[in-house]
Homo-oligomer: 337 residues x 2
């Protein structure tokens, strides 16, 4: 590779001005058919590719979107990423993927790095940032959509977009299912305390229990890491300390699978001794033994809708859609028939 072919190289070779090449590249219509043909041929022949970065410097558009997730390898977020990428690609945008590794400091850092990269907008998933920091970070970006996190402040640009799951309803459906099967002592593995999804699902659990005339003891509720290991540890403590529990509602399927393992460790049969309900319906959910009863959420759609919303806002959509709430669906399998 000697040096990158520039527009000027194409212009010289084709014997036209730089501007003519620029017009052809950008599909402007004030170029004669012959000239256009000539330039296109030359471009192909030289293998010229316009530099988005030089272009970005003048247009103030980079065609890049920042996508921030806590953990790409979490099947939940990898689906969100896939959906978001799909829409971005279709609209000729690129995705700068940032993994915060569930770390608030890193989240702040990548948000800043995304600023320096001059992205046209960001999709921020399950932010764990404090309201202030989040507001600050967002206001520094030209456009932003939050996934699974709401924000109260109204900024002068018409607010950020928001795409969420109806976690409260999901928590209600799951809890109600267990109540319907006769369970009364239902434990909750609530996920990370800072998780808004966790808070919503917990709220749904509380409402439904209360509506059924049950006041869950606080010792029935345990926070845990959103992982198999977190679920295993959490369930072990929860079941160990509360023998009266006959069912567990879990923050997500990974936690539920951990709970499955904990029951194995403790010699509890599922669903006869303990019934378990998860959340998300990740592919794994149907494959473990026993197969998980769970609330299905369309993570892919979370990603597509978020990216669509963001691109609309970047495009300057006037009727500013602010919020999209996706519903969940209970999938009944063997862990809580």
């Amino acid at each position: 590779m000697t040096h990158r072919i520039r527009m000027a190289d194409v212009a010289r070779q084709a014997g036209v001005s730089l501007m003519t090449v620029s017009r052809v590249v950008n599909n402007k219509d004030d170029v004669s058919a012959d000239t256009r043909q000539l330039v296109q041929t030359t471009i192909k022949q030289l293998g010229y590719r316009p530099s988005d970065i030089a272009r970005g410097l003048v247009t103030k558009r980079t065609g890049a979107i920042g996508l921030v997730v806590p953990d790409v390898s979490n099947p939940y977020f990898s689906e969100v990423v896939r959906g978001a990428e799909h829409v971005a690609y279709a609209e000729n945008y690129s995705v700068l993927l940032c993994n915060t590794e569930e770390n608030t400091q890193r989240e702040l850092a990548v948000l800043q790095s995304l600023e320096e990269k001059c992205v046209d907008g960001i999709v921020l998933c399950s932010s764990r940032l404090a309201e202030d920091d989040l507001e600050e970070a967002i206001s520094r970006h030209p456009a932003a959509v939050l996934v699974n996190r709401r924000l109260e402040f109204a900024d002068e640009r018409g607010g950020v977009g928001v795409v969420t799951l109806d976690d409260i309803a999901g928590g209600q459906i799951a809890t109600q299912h267990l109540l319907n099967r006769g369970h009364r002592a239902i434990g909750l593995l609530a996920g990370p305390p800072a998780s808004h999804s966790g808070q919503g699902r917990t709220e749904g659990y509380h409402r439904t229990m209360t509506a059924a005339g049950i006041s869950p003891f606080s010792r029935w509720i345990k926070h845990c890491a959103p992982t198999v290991e977190g679920g295993r540890t959490g369930a072990r403590e929860l079941l160990g300390g509360n023998p009266e529990l006959t069912a567990l509602f879990c923050f997500n399927d990974l936690v539920a699978i951990g709970a499955l393992q904990a029951c194995g460790d403790l010699g509890q049969a599922i669903p006869d001794d303990v019934a378990i309900v998860g959340f998300d319906d990740i592919p794994l959910a149907a494959l473990v033994t026993p197969a998980l009863t769970t609330c299905r959420t369309s993570r892919y759609e979370l990603g597509t809708r978020a990216m669509e919303l963001l691109l609309e806002r970047i495009g300057g959509c006037t009727e500013m859609c602010k919020e999209i709430v996706l519903s969940t669906e209970l999938i009944v399998r063997d862990s809580a028939p």
Copy 2:
């Protein structure tokens, strides 16, 4: 947001020249402590962020790496992505993630888009491109590392980097384990015929069987889709047609899980009637019943090593490491104790 704060704004506010600000931003050491302090304060106060894109135009470095995968939501690749992102972040690079959706046209397209984005290099996973197209695409990038795909051509820049799994050794270890347990009639569910990994694992199987003085009948070997369903169907046919088989070596864990199911269908006990060995050690492998004996492959490490190799090459590492082969490790569980 009125307009982005520029370096000139900081310079004016601090009463210094643009260059001084530039020096502070880039941590050059020829700035007096006082001036540096002043500039840093002003930067903070104004909330200035340098534009990587303006910087990139002059330095010819964008600090972005293209990462191309067939499917982000495949747990295999999402681990690779996580590893690659981790290393990139640590070295202050950003990752432009491109999902080809297992589509060759798209793979070509994203590779081109990455050129226009002027990335400093690319990590290309499991490329399905024809050798010619691949060579062409790669030679147009300043640096490239291939994951799970080898390339024969040597280009003038010292060749592309390559990171692969030692599939042959993996196949040998797995097969040898079964031989050691006394199995002689060992069947192979070989995965898709076009899979490079599958070919390597098959090769390992053959070598080990032959070394043990066994010539496996071709009817013991069956290709199959790399999925649970593919494994179930394949195993049913293999075991149905060859009652002498006492063990199955499977292309990957999903196939192995399918084989588990097939044994259930056929009333064969595992591991007593049929022993089963998988490949990859996906999280599920430890969770199914019986738990899978499998060859563990570190997908995360595939990602970290690939990114490390790429960054070394971008950094102009002279002793051009060309190829990294990651080994696998047999994890013995209940399906083949």
